[in-house]
């Protein structure tokens, strides 16, 4: 069982979501985020005032998947979120010890 966290462009959300549903992923947590990596922000001037857009809008997707699904999910997200430009985002993978469904106390893979 592993956690996959993907930082993507907001404009790619629909494509990523659809692709994940297609490979059988149903539970996704989506968080609004701001940040930048190599893609630095910029400054916009409007009516004589400078508005610095140094932290760019991103979305963070989190999902827990069974070990056998990890590679497929990573490829699915990467393919759907890729535009080839700086700022497409990143995917992080980490191990999860256990999962518990609160409603019926199911544990492990069954709780995902």
């Amino acid at each position: 069982m592993q956690k996959i966290e993907a930082i993507i462009q907001p404009s790619k959300l629909d494509a990523v979501k659809e692709a994940l549903i297609e490979v059988g992923i149903q539970g996704i947590t989506i968080l609004e985020a701001r940040g930048h990596g190599r893609q630095k922000g910029h400054t916009e001037t409007y009516r004589g005032r400078e508005y610095s857009v140094d932290l760019l809008p991103k979305l963070k997707l989190e999902m827990i998947v069974t070990d056998d699904m990890v590679d497929e999910v990573i490829n699915t997200i990467a393919n759907a979120a890729r535009s080839g430009k700086i700022g497409d985002g990143k995917i992080f993978v980490s191990r999860i010890d256990n999962a518990i469904r609160i409603r019926n106390d199911e544990r492990g893979d069954n709780a995902i």
Binding site: P10, H42, Y51
Partner: protein, 904 residues
Amino acid sequence: MNDQTGPTPPSNALRDFYQQGLAEIRAQFEQHDSLRTAGHIAIEQRAKLADEVMLRLWDRLGEHPRLKSGVAVVAIGGYGRRQLFPHSDLDVLFLLDNSIKDLDLKDPIRRINQEIWDCGIRASPQTRQLSECDSLIAGNPEFTLSLMDHRFLCGDRKLYDKLAKDALPKLLQREHRTLIARLVEITLDRHGKYANTLFHLEPNIKDCPGGLRDMNVCGWLTTLYTIAAQAQKQARPEHGNPSEFKHATDFLATVRCFLHYTHDRDDNVLYWQSQDAAAKDALALGNIGRRTVDASIWMRSFFRNARTIHRRTMQLLEEAPRVRGSSFYDQLRRRHKRSQFDGFHIQHGRIVFDPPASSKAPDPANDPDTVLNLFGAIATHGCKLSSEAEDRLEPALPVLAANLEEGPALWSHFRTILNGPFAGEALRAMHALGILELIVPEFLGIDALVIRDAYHRYTVDEHTFVLVDVLHSLQRPPEPMLANNRPNTFAEWQRRFGGLLADLPHPELLYLAALMHDTGKGRETPDHAKESARMAKNLFARMELDPYEAGIVRHLIVNHLAMSATLRRDIFDLETLRAFVEQVESPEQLRMLALLTYADISAVHPDALTPWKAENLWNLYIGASNYLDRTVDDDRVRSRAGSELIQRVTTLAPARSKEIRAYLQGFPQRYLRTRTPEQVFSHFEIASNLVSANTATRDTEAGIAAAVDLILNQALPVSEITLVALDRPRLFATIAGALSAWGMDIVNADAFANSSGIVVDSFSFIDRFRTLELNPSEHKRFVKSLKDALTGATPIEKLLASRSRGGKRKPPKVNVETQINFDHEASTHSTLLQVVAQDVPGLLRAISITVADHDCNIEVALIDTEGEMAIDVFYLTRFGQKLDSARAGLLRDDLIVAIARNTL
């Protein structure tokens, strides 16, 4: 119900009897739960069953010597009202004579209570001496309120009569004001816990505003108000529609029974799944044969009924200050001195109709002008309708419908309502009475319409009113802290978007678009935005909106989702911006669209507009705004290309299509986007006349000078003057100077030229000294004066000298630092100059004369004002070329000096 007797112990037999009765009540309910009154019947039957249990218990246990006299068993609260929901507690009072001590009866009463519990009844027993019931218990007004619904069950009847006929009436007589105050306080606190709205995705049908607890509040307040009126020897008239209220309470009672049975406990939350189940049963809809309905349709009925109870509750709460007359109630509404209007007045924050002037005089409630003025007063002052006013308005609807005059007068009334800071409240009141639908019948289709997607919290009509509330809230300075003591993370966004609202010359058009934007949802159509715009066209026709205003509103409605859709793309990508800007016709439309989007998202759900979304929306707005300004010079009309904008003008005179196309050749597209086809055509006609009148002398200086005409549109607060002329040196500077000489404060301007040297300049200005408003005879002299300045008949210097500044200027509220920027890349053939400076009279003249002194030609000018800041953008050429860096530097230096000198 079967009475089971036999060898089982008495308590078991009673339990079986009770449980059997419950099962029968439930079976009957489940068989008939599509009937509206099913719940009402069930709760009465359970109360009757509980009465029977209590009587049997008393028969058996009341024989205890200590219970023989001086003890009465009284049903109170919901049980006293015979409203015992399937899993509600049994509120029982053991009333003791003052001579009997609680301790003396502890054991026999405990035994009775034990047996009640053994039957499976959750009891909430209380033991009180009579003397404890004749005064308010500090911190527990709920006890006295529950006592108001007393009912004798068994025991000492004489003792009960002392309570019912003496102690309690005296207590209420003495303490009704305090009790009203506490009841209002408790109710407002409870409403506050539900954000003061009945609209929730999963409402608690007991405690939410418009829930069953509100129904009880209505009953208690009515009783207390009647006591108060009797104390003042007055009669208290009945208000509202009792049958509608009864209908609503029956509906909710059935729903609550259904929830108790479904959840198998006293859980009153109408969960998502419960909504599906209720719709499947067509619960309480009165459908014979239980036709399943869609959950959104069922929820529509729910909200309509809850709204009825909520409205009645709010009316009664509003009545409270009048009864108590204390400043405590100021939290309920703003107090007003008595304000008199024609046909009605505002008293203590509530609107009251005047009586007819004589027995033969018409009732003001039947006069559409009076009624619309009344709602204008609500929108302006935030006052409420009195119950008496509502009672008079409801029967007046047919007369109002027959006498309602359409056309500009109706739009004038409606504009006042929309522009009022409390427009949302006025529109809600109009909607509740059906008056909004007299004016906007298109609104009927979205009455209580539910969009059931677990995201839209409000019904479509309420969403619309919340949206209007959000827009008006932007006019107020944002609160740094919220009511729940959390910092207002939206303060910055409210300030920024509020700034956009303050700059709108016609905010009423935005509010009208807001009102109509979702009306199409009431029809089955794949594109509700287009349908809403189509429906709005009928309203425009009825109000005779001018084509320009109608065009703006229509465009806003059609495109109200465009910005939200663009937010799902890469908003920093130039191609995304270009595609979005193509849907926006002008900067004013962009501002309105940004505001509509901000408010539309905010009004979906209290948490729908996150700071993340607000920031993205702002970034999209400024990106699009800058894109609009920076591309205006390159985006020119090519008359040979097929364009809808050109066609809209040529259809006005198909025979002159070729001439019109020639006239339009080379104008920036923005010229076509910001004017109605009729306005463009009138400019074309003026230009044609100028050219033909001056054909012979067109190449001479005098001929060029003479070729000028002006159109004045005097209006409040902003007037507009448009000049059509053959291009000439210092044209822009001259007209700016002439306006300044007349004391006109230029707030907005643009200047465009076509390929043939025809210039169309428009200036929006505020008439600071009200010269044109107060002296209609001055209009002609004003226009002639400007024309003389332009033709050279009167030197502009003379005009300026004759109007020297009188007195000192007021110091600015905000100091704006002068910024001058050149952009040589924004346009392919012009240099963009942007000047940001303190907005003071004469600024535009100072800038444009300096520009002219450097032999620069203004290809396009976009002049704007934001509070005390002037933001002027010019596209300049010098001898047909962009400015070189050296010239730009010189011009910058001279502009700094000229602006500083003008500010002194």
